[in-house]
């Protein structure tokens, strides 16, 4: 957090409100994974609210194996130069030096992501130490609250990235939102038990019990491949969608991108979801999440 004197009045950058505020602005939108400046332009053209700049989409990371790391700064800069919407980029779990590089590059959001190979088996990044905001994945409420206590300004379901199979994201959303609902019903004494069970700060559990929602926006990621997938997770309570491999692994990326944007906005209107889904072509082929060798969603602690 920095205070800057301009025109005699203090300006504060990197505050909690400024970080969470950008996440609020992305609500109801679609964040798309892109690996080239050209794909970034396609995404912006189709109505993406932000792009995630990376070298390979999760489906290819899965196929290629090996260690997956932060993208080349040159690629991130090219993508930044190609679009006017916010640009996000991924750092490895616990790899605060990669996150420092991304902040120095001026990315708008850092995703401390399980899609990359973790750098630390015990610790996530201390996100309070940064001016740039962070998004982190979660499979359950405990994980979500631990990430928030470390300074995450946005939570997304992990899903099972690169599979095109939505069921893990559905499991994670139902788990997070279901437990929030149960905590709002808990009596004050039971909240301490919840904090213990979730391995999460009791102050955050109290806050959840009062407000009935996470203190930061909850987005969905990991497995969205069709407009109906987007409508499904939005109705389950996600506030926006990340689409990774689902767009540029489909048969017609500009149309898929546009259709998923429309379905995310009009997620309660099945007529519109039907209209944008008609004759869309082949969705990414995908693979069933339960058959994949590496479960990316198990990374993170």
């Amino acid at each position: 957090m920095r205070a800057m004197e301009a025109s005699g009045i203090a300006r504060h950058t990197g505050t909690e409100l400024v970080k969470r505020g950008l996440a609020e602005m992305l609500r109801g939108g679609v964040v798309m994974d892109v690996v080239t400046a050209e794909q970034a332009r396609v995404a912006e053209e189709a109505g993406a609210v932000a792009v995630m700049a990376l070298e390979r989409v999760p489906a290819d990371i899965r196929r290629d194996g090996g260690v997956a790391r932060m993208s080349d700064p040159a690629l991130i800069e090219e993508i930044k130069a190609a679009v006017t919407i916010p640009v996000m980029a991924k750092a490895r779990i616990g790899h605060f030096a990669e996150a420092q590089v991304l902040q120095a590059l001026g990315v708008d959001y850092v995703d401390e992501s399980e899609v990359l190979t973790p750098a630390d088996e015990l610790h996530h990044i201390d996100k309070w130490a940064f001016t740039v905001p962070f998004v982190c994945g979660a499979t359950n409420l405990g994980e979500a609250l631990r990430r928030i206590s470390e300074g995450a300004a946005m939570i997304r379901s992990k899903g099972e990235a690169g599979t095109g199979d939505i069921k893990e994201a559905v499991r994670h959303l139902r788990s997070i939102i279901g437990d929030i609902r149960r905590i709002t019903q808990a009596d004050p004494a039971e909240r301490y038990g919840w904090a213990k069970q979730l391995q999460a700060p009791v102050a955050l559990v109290h806050e959840l019990a009062e407000t009935g929602r996470l203190p930061v926006p909850l987005f969905c990621a990991g497995g969205i491949a069709t407009p109906a997938d987007a409508a499904l997770v939005m109705q389950l309570g996600a506030e926006a969608c990340f689409v990774g491999s689902g767009i540029f692994k489909s048969s017609d990326p500009p149309r898929f991108a546009r259709a998923i944007v429309e379905a995310t906005t009009h997620y309660r209107d099945a007529q519109i979801v039907a209209k944008v889904s008609r004759g869309l072509g082949q969705a990414m082929r995908g693979e069933e999440a339960s058959t994949v060798e590496t479960r990316l969603s198990e990374r993170g602690w």
Binding site: M4, S7, L22, E24, M25, V49, I85
Partner: protein
Amino acid sequence: MCARVGVLALQGDVREHIRALAELGCEPSEVRSAADLDEIDALVLPGGESTTMSLLLGSAGLLDPLQDRLRAGMPAFGTCAGMILLAADVADGRRDQHRLAAIDIGVRRNAFGRQVDSFETDLDVAGLDGPFHAVFIRAPIVERVGPGVEVLATVRGSDGVERPVVCRQGPVLVAAFHPELAGDVRLHRLFLAAVPLPHPAAQP
């Protein structure tokens, strides 16, 4: 009798505006279609991504009816992306960015820099008592102000020049920042004062 106020709900921080309006005694509705637009007397255009909202306004069939309503004098309040949508000219937008041209200003998107440059500060707003806590997020800036537009607040831009950040022309009010995020409803009250129907909270 409460004015029927809608919030454009294509994308963005719709919920925060609904909360602010509810605090002032309104029962705001979400606007996603031309039919929704028929049910309201005034509209809030929220913060979010203006290029996305511009595209969705077109595909939802909202563009022409909304422009007609604005020309007929419907009160509107746009914050950040909402200000960009209501402006007459937009610099650094998408090629096909729609301009509702409800207020005669020219704006530039992302004029303060990237997210790491987003900031909070206190502003003096003409007509309001005491400073207004303003949250600027990848905020646009007003570069041109037409005749008949009142400037209610300014901030020094990255070029060192004082730039308007709250403007009003008739029933249309715009802010480059997000009053809906910081829990201060005074600008929403100012907007509601332009809505013709009697509204208890809009009285001074």
